[in-house]
């Protein structure tokens, strides 16, 4: 099983959601993060305070998939999240040792079906 983490442009979340749902990945978590990226650095002023800031808001999503589905999921996600401009983000795939569904207690539950 794989644990997929993706950093995407916040405004692409809807498209990404649709792509995942199309693969029957119907649950995932999303959260606003700040992305630091040298290329997008800018200067902020607050009265006398001048400061170079490189953070922009992005959305991070996370979900689990079976090994079989992993590649297709990553591809779909990537296709859905692309705008072609800098700052489109990145996908990370981690090895997942085990999952447990809290409600049922079932281990390694049907993550494919989820």
């Amino acid at each position: 099983m794989k644990y997929v983490i993706a950093i995407i442009q916040s405004h692409m979340l809807e498209d990404v959601k649709d792509a995942l749902v199309a693969l029957d990945i119907t649950t995932f978590t999303a959260i606003e993060v700040r992305r630091f990226g040298g290329s997008e650095e800018h200067t902020e002023f607050y009265r006398a305070a001048e400061y170079s800031v490189g953070f922009l808001p992005k959305t991070k999503i996370e979900f689990a998939v079976s090994d079989e589905l992993a590649d297709r999921a990553v591809k779909s996600l990537r296709d859905a999240a692309t705008t072609g401009s800098t700052g489109d983000g990145r996908i990370y795939v981690l090895e997942l040792a085990k999952t447990v569904q809290i409600r049922t207690g079932k281990a390694d539950a049907d993550v494919l079906a989820l």
Partner: protein
């Protein structure tokens, strides 16, 4: 201001068709020099307070109401649009707007006699209050009208273009229409009733907003992406402040602390309440849940609709206007907007335009001779409704044409809209280099 409109109406009714020229003389507010009427400190106290309340409507009322409705990345830009409009319009008004609206001119526009408030002395009077108070009260009205328009083009207009547009609009649209109704112009002469600015402020701003939304075009990804309000909590607080400030707007338009001001305040409260409940009930019935956004949208719609009517209708008339306006604005911000497919981001037209039109027409229906000296349809004066419609129509037409012209010119020169990247990143960062909230 009721004072003027009322006098205009009385004028017209008694002296018929020659009224226009005469009224223009009678109604003319001479800003250049003291009149000899004595000051009434009570009236003055109320007008000073009303002025503060009307400023409260724009900053922070409208700031919060609008700011809560936009996405997080455009909050500060929305705040800044209203705040900068407040600053800019105040200066424009002092330099020339007041003169164009209220100094001696013709039936269409005032003159240049009061540029830079020339002639306004410490002891200049307008009725029983100092002219300085009258001028500042009018300034607060001039401030809120362009600030209302910002709701239509929120999230995508260039800041520089907005400043130029607002300055021109106050001089070329607001000041003339203000002159027509309150400055001795032809609309008051014609007997059109507008107690506190339903036509001058709300219809005017609503129509300008609609034109702006059409000219500027939709927000990027409008329709495909969801744009939920980033904080309805802020919007509710803003609506509450609008409600409170509106007492100054409507009851202040009596230019006095008298029974008519009291009646205006009473119907303001009643109409706002009725409209909030009416929108709530309609939404509950049609969508299954009464939303907070609905409640405040209804309240604001009711406040808009009662604005022209405040000093002319009875409490029961006020309740009727409120209830009708709540449902009408629901339609305006929902069915109408969907059908027409324009992107009036925060419903400047759907609420202020529709509410203003409904209110202006219903003023002709519910006006009561016992309250404001002019009977309406219900009391048998059918003509008043036609006069109201005439007032609405001429204002909408004039406003639409001139606003469109201005936007066209600005679009050709400075450009109206930020580029795609700036819009995607959000106006807070791209225009002002800041965020509203630090995570």
């Amino acid at each position: 201001m009721a004072w003027f409109a009322g006098m205009g109406a009385v004028c017209r009714r008694s002296i018929g068709t020659v009224s226009l020229a005469l009224c223009a003389i009678v109604l003319f507010v001479p800003p250049a020099g003291a009149q000899d009427s004595a000051i009434d400190t009570g009236n003055t106290a109320w007008m000073l307070t009303s002025t503060a309340l009307v400023i409260l409507m724009t900053v922070p009322g409208l700031i919060l109401f609008y700011g809560g409705l936009v996405r997080k990345k455009n909050v500060l830009a929305t705040f800044v649009q209203c705040f900068a409009t407040c600053a800019l319009t105040s200066v424009i008004w002092m330099v020339a707007g007041y003169s164009l609206a209220f100094s001696e001119g013709n039936a269409f526009i005032g003159g240049f006699g009061a540029l830079f408030l020339n002639g306004m002395e410490v002891d200049s009077m307008v009725g029983t209050i100092p002219e300085s108070v009258f001028m500042t009260f009018q300034m607060a009205f001039a401030v809120i009208a362009p600030a209302l328009i910002t709701g239509a083009y929120a999230d995508r207009m260039k800041f520089s273009a907005m400043l130029v547009f607002n300055a021109l609009w106050v001089l070329l649209v607001y000041a003339p229409v203000c002159h027509w109704v309150w400055g001795g112009g032809f609309l008051a002469g014609d007997g059109v009733l507008d107690y506190a600015g339903g036509t001058v402020v709300h219809i005017n701003a609503g129509v300008a907003g609609l034109v702006a939304a059409l000219v500027i075009g939709k927000r990027l990804r409008y329709g495909s992406e969801h744009f939920p309000p980033h904080s309805l909590a802020l919007s509710i607080v803003g609506a509450a402040l609008l409600w409170v400030g509106w007492f100054g707007f409507n009851a202040g338009s009596a230019l006095a602390a008298d029974g008519r001001a009291g009646m205006a305040m009473a119907v303001t409260q009643i109409a706002a309440a009725g409209a909030a409940l009416s929108w709530m009930v309609v939404e509950w019935a049609l969508r299954g849940k009464p939303s907070g956004l609905g409640l405040i949208s209804g309240a604001v719609g009711g406040l808009v609709a009662i604005t022209p009517a405040a000093g002319f209708v009875s409490p029961v008339g006020g309740l009727a206007i409120g209830v009708i306006a709540g449902a009408a604005c629901y339609w305006g911000a929902n069915a109408l907007k969907r059908r027409m497919k324009y992107d009036d981001s925060l419903d400047a037209f759907g609420i202020h335009g529709i509410g203003g039109i409904v209110g202006a027409v219903l003023t002709g229906v519910f006006a009561s001779e016992a309250i404001g000296g002019v009977p309406g349809l219900i009391e048998g004066n059918v003509g008043q409704v036609w006069q109201q419609i005439w007032g609405v129509a001429i204002t909408m037409a004039y406003c639409a044409v001139v606003t469109w012209g201005m936007l066209f010119l600005i679009g050709k020169t400075i450009g109206l809209r930020v580029d795609e990247k700036a819009e995607t990143i959000g106006l807070d960062i791209s225009l002002h280099g800041e965020r509203a909230y630090e995570m």
